[in-house]
């Protein structure tokens, strides 16, 4: 039981716990907070995997921007506790089953395909951000430009959608 393994399990527990509480929390704000926990935990895992830049981006963008946006919207709409409506039960139980089946499938698949990706993650060697940037701006430059364009479109769309029509 080496130190990294312990850290991994702690973070994994955090992540799973956060996900569970995301499900079981009744209030959207609490769900959001638990999601933030998951994200921070994931960022930790990324660090453990040596993906420092991704970890930082994970926290800055996901934690610092997207989730803040969520919280902001929740506050703006003053969303309350989820109300129970009996329809929700109907979809529930098959859904539970399905989710378990899905997870089972994937997990089992990976568990059986140990031979394929047995190469382990060394926390030591940090993937240098320089290489990452080289990849993004050389090999992936067109996708990169596309995503920037996507962002622009998204911003415009958000503005158009959210603005109140002038009386």
């Amino acid at each position: 039981m080496t130190a990294p393994l312990i850290i991994f399990f702690v973070l994994a527990a955090l992540a799973v716990g956060g996900a569970l509480s995301l499900i079981f929390q009744k209030h959207p704000i609490h769900s959001a907070l638990s999601l933030i926990v998951v994200m921070v935990a994931l960022a930790g895992l990324y660090l453990l995997l040596g993906a420092e830049f991704v970890a930082a981006v994970q926290i800055i963008v996901y934690g610092g921007a997207i989730m803040v946006l969520f919280v902001f919207v929740i506050m703006l709409l003053n969303a309350g506790i989820e109300e129970h409506t009996n329809i929700s039960r109907i979809a529930g139980f098959p859904g539970l089953l399905l989710a378990f089946v899905l997870t089972g499938f994937i997990a089992a698949t990976i568990a059986r395909s140990t031979d394929t990706v047995q190469a382990a993650a060394q926390p030591g060697n940090m993937a240098s951000t320089r290489d990452l940037s080289n990849m993004i701006f050389r090999d992936f430059v067109y996708p990169f430009e596309l995503t920037s364009f996507l962002i622009l479109v998204a911003v415009l769309g958000a503005i158009v959608l959210a603005q109140r029509e002038k009386a």
Partner: protein, 100 residues
């Protein structure tokens, strides 16, 4: 020294939980958040593989996923605000205009 499978299984579990949340939550915003959770699970898998194969493509993809997620969040939340404004409710069961 952590086997990559641990990460993958973890991501699978997170993904499943995301699906559960996606199905169970009634609040549009929570559902939206569950989607984000699933995305994160996938990202974890990406990074784990990129580490295992000593290739950076996975991380690049994670960055793209994050960017797209941001865009999606912007638009989605705008839509949510609009819906809430029109329907006076965030409960998906109240938003059943899709019915024939």
């Amino acid at each position: 020294m952590i086997p990559t499978n641990y990460y993958i299984v973890l991501s699978a579990i997170l993904f499943g939980l995301g699906v559960l949340a996606f199905i169970f939550k009634r609040n549009i915003i929570s559902i939206f958040m569950s989607i984000e959770l699933m995305l994160n699970a996938v990202n974890l898998a990406f990074v784990a593989f990129s580490q295992a194969m000593h290739k950076l493509d996975g991380q690049v993809f994670v960055l793209f996923v994050i960017v797209v997620a941001a865009a999606e969040a912007a638009v989605g939340l705008a839509i949510i605000i609009l819906t809430a404004r029109n329907r006076q409710s965030l409960n998906v069961e109240r938003v059943d205009l899709l019915k024939l």
